[in-house]
Amino acid sequence: MMLSTATQLSTPPTATPSTVVPLANRNIYLNPRLQQGGTGQMGNQRSEEVKKVLDILVRTKKRNPVLVGDSEPEAVVKELFRKIESKELGAEGPLKNVQVISIEKEFLYDKNQILSKIKELDRVIESRIVSGGVILDLGDLKWLVEQPMSFGGAQQQQVVSDIGRAAVVEMGKLLARFTGDGTNDNNLWLIGTATCETYLRCQVYHSTMENDWDLQAVPITSRSPLLGIFPRVGTERILSNPGENLNPLKSVPTLHPALTRRVSENLDPAQRTSFCPQCSDNYEKELSKLVAIEKSFSEAKQEDNRPSLPLWLKNAKLQSSDAKTIDQSEGKYQEVLSKQKTQELQKKWRETCLHLHPNYHHKIHSDRTAPPALSMPSLCNPNLFVRPPFQPRLQTTKPLGEVLQLNTNPVTSQPQGCTSSIPGSPVRTDLVLGPKGTENTPEKATEDGVKDLLGCISSEPQTKVLDKFADALDADTYKKLLKGLKEKAWWQAEAATAVASAITRCRLGNGRCRGAGSRGDTWLLFTGPDRVGKKKMSSVLAEQICGTIPVIICLGSQRGGEESDMNFRGKTAIDRIAEAVRHNPFSVIMLEDIDEADMILRGSVKRAIERGRLTDSHGREISLGNAIFILTGDWSTTNPEATRDGHVVDGKKLASIASRDWQLGLIVREKSAKRRVNWLQNEDRPIKPRRELGSGLSLDLNLAVDTEDDRTDGSHNSSDLTIDHEDELGLVGRQFTITSVPHELASIVDDSIVFKPVDSSFVRREIKNTISVKFSMVVGDNLPIEIEDDVLEKILGGLWHDQTSLEQWIENVLAPSFNQLKPRLPSIESRGLVVRLVVESDSGERRNGDWLPSRITVEG
């Protein structure tokens, strides 16, 4: 039973159309489409086409059919000839005694003799035509428009199409000669097949052919049920018929994409097995396990069923003991599969080893260049295993560029050549992908050199030098980063601290250890509703660490279309991430709204986090280099009342406020005594003067000393920061909870940082305080400044969207106008006066690019 199944699969259904009918009617569960005849239906289609061809043959005009179709027009011709041969066409009609002459293959190959061949054909036809007509089978017409590959060149093509043209003319004469007598008996027909492309070419190159040859094109539909040809048939179906390996070339690449990719990686054989002894031990162990598994499969003996088993079943037993029964192609296939598995294993350990013991690989290399080699075991210095290599992370800390350069210069000059030839270093590959432009500047080039080296060097002395750096780096970058973060997103002091410490930790190699060995990419998860704060912090990170602006990719449904870059049209988010990494592997990439991303996208991102590599939609894999990824999502629930009552800053409302064009002005007025008292007494504590304002909210230790004396002013807090926190937590903490950050995400990122909703009263107060303090510094303590809430709201809105920080704006815009104001004030007795910051004009649409007013009108 099984044997016949296997062989019959490949035979065209037309050959066995009648065998299926009796069974079909019995089965009530049968798919109706199968019941309708199934293969018979296909046969019908074919016979209909044959009928069409016959109809053409009996016509008096346009009676030479050319079957045009991309799928098997030959089969129709064959069927036709079969019918002619078996005299199925009946005794009557012009075709009853027709003979078929096929043009031999040699005829077509030997182009130069084509004309003499046609003459020869002439004689053959003449001898046969008397008996009742001849159908001349021209085969595939491509011989008229193509030339053998070996010729090539435009000159040759010209010659060939000349010959083709001559052949068309000769054939036309031939046809005219034998049909000239007008009777329908003893006729000559032509029949040919062509793909659509070929037929179109024929029409172009031999424009007269259609008329001269009296041709009629017959379109053949592509519903061929032939399994061997059907393009979507799985490859194993083709292979499953031994000896019927129809398309081995086609099947190999689809079966072993991994293999071909591996080949293209261009690894030299020596590299392939270069693990250190420890890893090669492990590799051997796994290999033997693999072999054992395969053995166990092969021991499940099934000789009895061998001939009937499709190939994929045999694949399970890779190292079959009796290989002689398997034919060669199968053997090869198995070998390839087994090799593939082994290579996969090898590759895995090579990568693991590279990660765990970069030392070894470096040494291996220097062994090659410098002959006095050390013995193998000593290379794997055990204490090096303990410490994960931190180097790949160091190099991107931009602010330290100069320092790094100074100290690593001797290093760079020494093995420059060797870095370029270290094989298999992942870091090197990444750099190839990086933008060319940056390498032009000498400074960058050196830096790149450093990066290069750091990726692969791990010999003792250098590590020690760098190690020292790392410690120095630590405190320094942390401070600088924190300062930057707090300046730009001062309302998220807590988050800023968390971000700074997370980044510092990750950059120094203490991030969460994902997969095998340490990696350069960093993943942070920003949760909470404060989109602005997240964005501002990302820009600070990008600027300080990578010296660029952050790449922002929105994974969720687009919001407001603000980041609709034309280049991204039609690309999936994953492709955009891949492109960003490819463009610059040392960048900050912000993936917004991961909580709104679809499942597949989330999955891809998750896998990228886990593996440090990203597969784009074309299946290409790229390493994530040293990029910092920031995932953002909300996942929070805020008390709706809090938003409504204005306790929490509402982004949308701010946007509408700030999008108008407004100007501020300073005016001096008589103060109303009542108001002043109110202001001083009720808000005494929050506006306590803060002398350290120049340096912002930076958490420098020196500041702590400064703030010591603040305690004397009756505040119940020791430092400003604690005040902020108390207030913030007091109001906001009650109304806000991060509910549902998916554990799967939170558990794999390096760190997740909560961004609380912004308490609007806190932010307003903060702006007011900062301005007042600046004012008192410039103008003097004896004149108060009043700022209305709507003004604060506007400033806040501007800050929310503008790139500048509050300090910058005050320094650049407010301070000059204060200075301007100062001389105009009555110098002696300003008591009873108050300076007010008011909205001067509020005129609809915003005109220029700035969100905050760039100058302030001063009225004396």
């Binding site: 079909a24 049968l30 293969t39 009937s308 994929w312 079943l313 999936t572 679809d598």
Partner: protein, 270 residues
């Protein structure tokens, strides 16, 4: 060679008193059982077939209406068994085919002696008091992604479902069979599967059921196996394997094959 056998690429291998039917799930074909079959052929007669709509079947036979419910597939299974004059069989169904087998066993209980389900789920969508693992929006996005770029979708979906690297042989294998499907058919099949709800039918399944499930499976949360156990009408037994992915028989055969063999060979103690 009957038309049914040919249309479903039915293969009969091995010999033995009992017959085992191996039914594959969405996006695969009978080759998904390649690791299991060699272990069965000595003791059993094994029937392998492709569900209609799989990449290896003729798309012309795919009747979008017939296959808009799982019943259509179930009738196909019975049609194959009738065609081969099988009187009784052990049905091993993976993913959607497990439910197909369940339906078939309700229609023709006489044909089935045992049902072994691998990564089966009666409903993929969450519902009140039911956790299927997917929200309606998730599914909708999935369908949209399938429609917009099938190749990209396959490449993204395969590693998720199998639970491994794009490079691993299992993922390559799955994405190959997945991509073999004609995109419109794949979409239709996926819609049928994800919108199916077999919960109300489970109580009618009277044959013994062996429920086998991966510890970590994107498509089927582990609690589903317990749900099936509670709701099947007949006896049932659950085994949760320490494997990863929706196609454990392809991705971790060394764990799954022994377990499958155990459940095929042994019956639930009375």
């Amino acid at each position: 060679m009957g038309v049914v056998e040919e249309a479903h690429n039915v293969k009969l291998v091995g010999s033995g008193d009992q017959t085992i039917v191996l039914a594959h799930g969405f996006g695969t074909d009978q080759s998904v059982w390649k690791h299991l079959v060699p272990h069965l052929v000595d003791d059993y007669r094994v029937i392998l077939f492709d569900n209609m709509g799989a990449g290896t079947t003729n798309p012309d036979y795919f009747d979008f209406e017939r296959y808009s419910t799982l019943e259509g597939y179930a009738y196909d299974v019975i049609a194959i068994l009738e065609e081969l004059r099988v009187k009784s069989c052990i049905f091993v169904g993976h993913s959607v085919s497990a439910m197909i087998g369940a339906i078939a066993s309700i229609t023709r209980p006489d044909l089935f002696t045992k049902l072994v389900t691998v990564s089966a789920s009666p409903r993929y969508l969450n519902d009140a008091n039911y956790y299927g693992g997917f929200e309606k929006e998730d599914i909708q996005q999935l369908f949209e992604a399938m429609q917009s770029n099938y190749k990209a979708w396959c490449d993204g979906f395969a590693p998720l479902v199998v639970g491994g690297d794009m490079e691993s042989v299992a993922v390559q294998e799955f994405s190959r069979t997945l991509f073999n499907m004609r995109p419109d058919i794949a979409l239709s099949v996926a819609q049928t599967i994800f919108q199916s709800d077999m919960r109300h039918l489970l109580c009618h399944v009277t044959i013994p059921c062996h429920i086998i499930q991966s510890m970590k499976d994107l498509a089927v949360p582990v609690v589903i196996s317990e749900y099936l156990h509670q709701n099947f009408g007949g006896k049932s037994i659950v085994e949760v394997m320490q494997t990863d992915g929706h196609l454990p028989q392809l991705s971790s055969p060394d764990v799954v094959i022994p377990i499958l063999l155990k459940h095929i060979r042994c019956s639930i103690a009375t």
